[in-house]
């Protein structure tokens, strides 16, 4: 297992790219829900597949999680997890303005997740002169242990990953969801090359 700690400048550069992407994704979300979205400073950290579950609020065992893979040029790839609390997913129909039974909660969650993930990553990609393609969003079973089961499966694919966590909080409804991006170690070197290129231009 290698260590890919980003330098302070690389971390700062990545954080700023994420800030800009997060801002535009939250603007989309705000327009979609016709409300205001409160933004927090995103967190970036290195995680091992063993420790990841502990960083994702392990006490919240009954969350709904949507997973969507992303793939760009230059070997930039990863997975986005949209994590909802059960109380929040119940509020979605109201937030989205759907009539009861118009669309299942699962379909609403997938819709919203896809908007957030693709808006965020398209803006991120455009800043690094890249372009993303996406796998279909997948609702991981919203039953007890959904996150841990999924993460256990992921541990077969990577030992270390860069974890980026962004919280979208809709103030009117006390609704929030976390977007967690997991970039496996094999893709990190490609990200750092891009960051170094941006930093060299300053």
């Amino acid at each position: 297992m290698s260590n890919f700690n980003l330098t302070e400048d690389q971390q700062d550069c990545l954080q700023e790219l994420i800030n800009v992407a997060m801002g535009q994704a939250s603007d989309q979300l705000a327009r979609y829900l016709d409300t205001f979205v409160y933004l927090k400073v995103p967190s970036i950290e290195q995680v091992s597949s063993q420790s990841l579950i502990g960083t994702l609020n392990p006490s919240d065992t009954t969350v709904a999680v949507v997973s969507q893979g992303f793939f760009g040029y230059e070997g930039i790839r990863g997975e986005a997890l949209l994590i909802y609390q059960p109380k929040d997913s119940d509020k979605l129909a109201d937030l989205l303005g759907y009539e009861p039974d118009e669309l299942s909660v699962e379909e609403q969650i997938i819709d919203l997740s896809s908007i957030l993930t693709t808006t965020f990553l398209n803006v991120f990609a455009s800043q690094i002169e890249n372009q993303m393609s996406y796998s279909a969003p997948r609702l991981l079973a919203s039953h007890k242990g959904a996150i841990s089961e999924h993460i256990e499966q992921q541990s077969y694919n990577w030992d270390l990953a860069l974890k980026v966590k962004i919280t979208y909080q809709v103030t009117d409804y006390s609704f929030n969801c976390d977007m967690v991006l997991l970039i496996p170690e094999s893709a990190i070197v490609n990200i750092t090359d891009v960051l170094d290129r941006i930093l060299a231009s300053f």
Binding site: D12, N19, Q24, F36, V41
Partner: protein, 121 residues
């Protein structure tokens, strides 16, 4: 015309983006703050003409700085430069006294246009 400038952003890259967008005539007297608290401390101890202010920051965010400026009656032109582009946020910062809202990443021509519009160039 010489103006003293404070740039407040938690990102080193973002601070550099603002710095390199400034015309030479304004880039001589610039100080930097990495969060809102630092900015307010500098504003109480020194006089500045212009503040370029980020919103999403640790310790004290940009809205907190705008509130502080209002409460202290500090005479300064604030240009908010933020990634939080929601219309409600833009209205909020303008109602708190900011001169303008500029979208991140800031573009040199936009920054210069705003400085001209507000009489700094």
């Amino acid at each position: 015309m010489s103006s003293s400038i404070l740039i407040c952003d938690d990102s080193n890259l973002a601070r550099k983006q603002v710095l390199r967008s400034l015309p030479d005539i304004l880039s001589a007297d610039v100080q930097l703050a990495t969060n809102g608290q630092e900015a307010l401390e500098l504003l109480t101890s020194q006089n500045f003409d212009i503040l370029f202010l980020d919103l999403t920051m640790p310790i004290l965010d940009g809205l907190g700085v705008l509130q502080g400026i209002k409460e202290n009656n500090t005479n300064i032109a604030v240009f908010v430069i933020s990634a939080d582009i929601q219309p409600e946020m833009q209205s909020k910062v303008l109602s708190l006294g900011a001169k303008a809202f500029l979208k991140k990443p800031v573009k040199k021509e936009v920054l210069i246009e705003q400085l001209q519009q507000h009489g700094f160039l």
